[in-house]
Symmetry: C2
Subunit: 187 residues, 2 copies
């Protein structure tokens, strides 16, 4: 990850680059514009997905594999159609990465008990281990952030992120998360 050294010894803002940033810049006159959130979200997300990417690339996998593995591990026995809805991609796109995960024994598919057309998805122990490893990297970042920010940060972050989701998707997402949390607790 390269760092940002936008030193700007240009026509625009010459000599400003050595000024310290931080609270002083935000506390000034007026409130900061909303666009700070646009950019912070870009940078935060970039770093957030960057950690797992390094591990994945060593295995010949990419972000797409991570997403599939994550949701399958969190929701054992989910249908292919459910995964497609969550990821919001076509079945052909999913097929490519899913096939690799199945072939390399990270995920397995079981015929549905009630409906034998279904291929229910489960993470193998190998898959669970990788999923845990990848999630641990992201969890570490989040935990560090919350530790810095003090109590209430988790709740604030959750509410902010929830409010950023399309209104008609929010309930589905919360339901998904709640169910997976309950299932995880029962183990």
């Amino acid at each position: 990850m390269a760092d940002i050294n936008w030193t700007a010894k240009t026509a625009v803002a010459p000599g400003l680059s050595e000024r310290p940033a931080g609270a002083a810049d935000r506390a000034g006159e007026g409130h900061a514009p909303i666009s700070d959130i646009i950019e912070l979200l870009f940078f935060a997300y970039r770093d957030f997905v960057g950690d797992p990417d390094e591990v994945l690339s060593k295995l010949g996998f990419g972000r797409a594999h991570h997403r599939v593995l994550h949701f399958v591990t969190r929701n054992p026995g989910m249908k292919v159609a459910d995964l497609l809805d969550i990821l919001n991609i076509t079945k052909q796109s999913l097929a490519r990465v899913l096939k690799q995960l199945v072939d390399e024994d990270y995920v397995l598919q079981k015929e549905g008990a009630q409906d034998r057309r279904q291929r229910l998805l489960y993470a193998t122990p190998k898959g669970e281990a990788l999923s845990r490893k990848l999630d641990a990297l992201q969890t570490e970042r989040i935990t560090r952030a919350f530790a810095e920010l003090g109590p209430g940060a988790h709740d604030a972050a959750r509410r902010f992120l929830t409010a950023m989701i399309d209104a008609d998707n929010r309930d589905g997402v919360l339901r998904l998360i709640a169910r997976a949390d309950r299932a995880a607790k029962r183990e």
Copy 2:
């Protein structure tokens, strides 16, 4: 955008899909695990970048064009090298989208005054207009979220997102944002 109907009439959690979600699920015994943030971030970011994507595709552009146009508009006169550092991509990747933006008169390049090797980047009026339009979509989502959440939400979100950025990048990012904000205010 498809919605999520993870109905789960499967072996795992039969019949749970009709339960309402929300506060009740979170307020229960113990605190929710961190993984909710992982998933909320995924869904929030997906929707967040989804809005501009629709507009962009009509113009034959993609997300990459948006990013370039956004940062160039916010930081007029920036060097190509600075943009590369911000986006964290190779110059070859940048060249592809930048060339299109220049060819179609959204961005222009001026020779640097002090250093004539530099090609300083500026958005044209056409480019600024598109940038504003795209940013407006994202701003709308953010503003709606903050309105729902009440006062303090903006600050909480900013602090959370900042804390999620790699520590060694944070100052650079904050500096970048602060400078662009000041420049925008002077206009």
